[in-house]
Subunit: 192 residues, 2 copies
């Protein structure tokens, strides 16, 4: 009997994610979301309840996005040091593209909202746990492949590379490509 939705919740959520990614949480108004998502405020609230819940869903969507388009190589079963090296040098080089100068949505969120909201904080922590777990696995594989020393302290190194990636997100907005390259190169050289 009911009327059917004229939009795909998954599609409009992806648009919302990009707005939050570009502008940050506070600077994104519901009016902007309306335009960018292509649906009315009523529809936003009926699908996502309120702005904060939409933001949290956007962070999750961002997680899906990077899994598929950014960390896909690192998430492959046999990815090791070569892939990590390629990934880091590659993201350092991508600086010129404006899409990269947005940095990481989750790093931006951690910086903007700090620990001011519990739900958002736990979402942020969940994301970084995922990144660290991914790094652990990559480093473990690298050891098994003999690319790095079997004495490598994977726990410490995964914390290190997570820190480097967080720094990279900020640095991508403030450093030129050469400096970014230096930063990443030294981070990598250290483990060889």
């Amino acid at each position: 009997m009911p009327r059917s939705k004229s939009y795909d919740e998954n599609m409009v959520l992806e648009h919302a994610m990009h707005v939050f990614w570009s502008k940050g949480y506070k600077a994104t108004s519901v009016r902007m979301l309306e335009k960018e998502m292509g649906i009315n405020q009523f529809s936003i609230y009926s699908s996502f309840i309120n702005k904060k819940k939409l933001f949290i869903k956007s962070i999750r969507k961002y997680g899906e996005h990077v899994r598929q388009n950014v960390y896909n190589i690192l998430l492959q079963e046999n990815s090791g040091m070569k892939e990590l090296e390629f990934f880091l040098l590659n993201t350092a080089q991508k600086k010129r593209e404006p899409a990269t100068s947005r940095g990481c949505l989750v790093v931006n969120t951690a910086a903007e909202l700090g620990g001011s909201d519990d739900e958002i904080t736990s979402e942020v922590n969940g994301y970084f746990n995922f990144i660290r777990d991914m790094l652990k696995k990559v480093l473990q594989t690298a050891v098994e492949k003999g690319e790095i020393s079997p004495d490598t302290d994977i726990e410490k190194q995964s914390a290190f590379f997570l820190g480097v990636m967080q720094g990279l997100s900020v640095a991508s907005k403030t450093m030129d490509p050469d400096q970014l390259n230096d930063f990443v190169s030294i981070a990598l050289k250290q483990i060889k």
Copy 2:
């Protein structure tokens, strides 16, 4: 003939800086600034023109603050590797104190506002140039003292440690003290 100001512009600016530091630019309202600075909106606008200009002055004030209270050791003429090591391990350990979980105001600003405003962007860049120059000098001294190899590429290493410090600001909000320690330890070990 005129009436005299009942507040010290320098004092109230310091209070404004702390509000921006804790809450970020967008999340800080002029009403909050009124309360925290202890003066009326009229006085805020008569002394600082508008919110953005007050924010920029707050960033500069933050620069003074860290020069005197955070980087004072590193800024001493003969500071080298020992001081850099002490500084990094120390800030990694200070995590439990809530004052530290605010991260760095300028990193937060870079993340929140990206390149959305030219004046603010150039203020952010100026700050990071100062940090990198400070690091260069410290590393140069470390070479002269024989603490690190004379072959050290100071340009690259200063970019690296700047990136580490930017990462540290984000990580201080998301990592536990042990992980922070691991992050910093590896960053330091690499140069020895």
